[in-house]
Amino acid sequence: MTKAHPHRSVFLILAAALAASSCTSGKSREGAEGSEATPQTRASSTLTIKGSDTMVILAQNWAQAFMDANPGKVLQVSGGGSGTGLAALINGTADLANASRPIKDKERKQLMKRRAAEAQEFRVALDSLAVYVPAANKIESLTIPQLKKIFRGQTTNWKDVGGEDRPIVLYSRENNSGTYAYFKEHVLDNEDFAATAQTLPGTAAVINAVSKDVGGIGYGGIAYSEGVRTVMVAPPDGDPVEPTMENATSGKYPLSRFLNIYSADEPSGIAKEYLDFVLSPKGQAVVEGVGYYPLPREATAAAE
């Protein structure tokens, strides 16, 4: 009776590993459903897109619209984080990577080394990285230096930044997130997040946690801001700015960024068709429908 146990718990580790792998692939949608692809055309008409959780809903809407317009073509979109998408591009398991941060030099080199391909960047939408507090928190605005101190763990009470006397609870993203990397670079000057920052998988999870925690503060893409308040953010030497479309487009809002799609070498075939669609007025209309900001006109023109 006792002899069986060591083996069984060993299998639990296996199960953990399986959970790890299914965790990242679990979000892929059933792209094949309803398509009329024949086995012969499948290879050239299937596109795997992976990456940013911030962009996953956007990418799914793009894919849906693209598949509606091009019957027989199958797009598989999944999230997991910008780093996950770029790693998949490097490892050759994805054709395109969504990323809410620019690619790192290290990743460029890895792509060159493993697939002998040059990473190509396409800016596809504009986002304001919003700072969220629960609806009950009355704080109006925070400056970038204040945000840095808060997320570094040096400011630990809301009263130190003009709020109520209440401890601050930090919500951050998993470190495979492009949003995490962007925030770390632009707000923390590449210093570490406080160890007490809780990391949650996905902006939706952060929003949900912040909305339930009176002392909470979190950050994420603008399209998700439901049930929480966004705080105005002031650059180190300026007035507080609201994360609206105009302020993002004009570059006034200090935390606005481009959302990108990366390909290995110049895209061709279905990947190119998809990218053309994304950058077309129709594709940019999808961006607005999801809650992000379409590219400013000049940027679209430059991309074409």
């Binding site: 146990h5 953990a16 959970a19 965790c23 493993r114 401890p167 495979n176």
Partner: protein
């Protein structure tokens, strides 16, 4: 030795047990196979086949270990790895730039990346210990009640329901802990962290209780009815029989359940990933802080890294270490159980 005790239960009280047992457990039948009459050829073939299958399990474990280790060990000689990470920083505190004291930090993204595994193991052990503290008394208590006290009608409802608990997917329990338990716990106890070790441990306990319960209940059922009857005949009260006769006799089996529950707890991923907040805080004694466990770290980060990267190697090292911890604890648990059994059978 085990089989003797267990089989005695089977032989002496088949009538009492037959109504309760739903499933037939193969290990009970094992010793019955050995027989004195001449074994037909197909028996021997079957035995060999079974032996091969059993060895295949061992081979599978060895291979899994080798393949995990193979991804981790190049860190000890790879130049690329050495450029990014010093091996000693994986285990010891270091005073990094921008910190005023040596710290244990897990910050795998950044310049420089900081991979200290200590807070992760502290997190895993904290959650596991807490979950065990909750589920061991509950599981054993439940088992004793169901096996010794509960009227038949109650037993027939409660036992399947507890066993059904084991069938709930951990992601569902994790979701429950994340959305419902966490809010309730914070409102009740006023935790600073809404998601913390306590919440995750409660979620975990829900998965371990059925494991411990099922095995403990089996062990208690398998105690020979004769012991029970003898004690009663000598004038012992029911609770005396339960605590001083049945419980000690069933202890090795119960301990086995606890060891198995521990393995389940430390290896569980989804619940802790969802309900523990995943902040790698180096804090030994405060159980109300958020924790980041080894399993959750692997699950959350492995999808991100490029193969062969320093981060990739460290994550596999975590896997190897977790494997080793579970393995050693299982062996220690097994030895303890064997010793216990020897002691018990010597006395009886």
């Amino acid at each position: 030795m085990t089989e003797q005790v267990l089989d005695a239960g089977e032989h002496h009280a088949p009538a009492a047990n037959s109504g309760r047992r739903i499933t037939v457990r193969p290990h009970r039948a094992r010793s019955g196979l050995a027989s004195s009459f001449k074994t037909p050829l197909w028996h021997r073939v079957a035995e060999r086949t079974i032996a091969v299958l059993a060895l295949a399990a061992i081979a599978a474990i060895a291979l899994i270990f080798i393949f995990i280790a193979r991804e981790a060990v190049p860190m000890f000689w790879e130049v690329e790895f050495a450029e990014e990470v010093e091996i000693r920083d994986l285990f010891f505190a270091k005073e990094w730039n921008g910190y005023d004291e040596p710290v244990f930090i897990w910050q795998p993204v950044g310049e420089p990346a900081k991979f200290n595994v200590v807070p992760l193991f502290v997190g895993s052990l904290k959650v596991t210990l807490l979950a065990m503290l909750m589920s061991v008394p509950l599981g054993i208590g439940c088992a004793m009640f169901i096996a010794l006290y509960a009227p038949r009608a109650v037993r027939e409802v409660v036992k399947p329901v507890i066993e059904l608990l084991a069938g709930i997917p951990s992601v569902v329990l994790g979701f429950f802990a994340l959305m419902v338990l966490a809010s309730w716990a914070q409102a009740t106890f006023g935790f600073h962290f809404r998601l913390n070790a306590v919440v995750a441990a409660i979620g975990l306990a829900l998965t371990i209780v059925p494991v411990i319960f099922t095995i403990a209940e089996d062990a208690i059922q398998s105690v020979p009815q004769t012991l029970n009857e003898a004690a009663l005949a000598l004038g012992a009260r029911k609770y005396q029989v339960a605590l001083r006769v049945v419980l000690p006799a069933a202890l090795p089996g119960i301990a086995a359940g606890v060891v198995l529950g521990f393995g389940r707890a430390i290896g569980e991923t989804m619940i802790v990933l969802m309900a523990s907040g995943n902040a790698a805080i180096m804090e030994l004694f405060d159980f109300t802080t958020s924790v980041r466990t080894v399993t959750a770290t692997i699950a959350a980060e492995l999808g991100e890294v490029a193969q062969g990267d320093a981060h990739w190697r460290v994550l596999f090292l975590l896997g190897v270490m977790l494997f080793a911890v579970t393995f050693v604890l299982n062996i220690v648990g097994d030895l303890a159980i064997q010793r216990l059994q020897k002691k018990l059978t010597a006395e009886s």
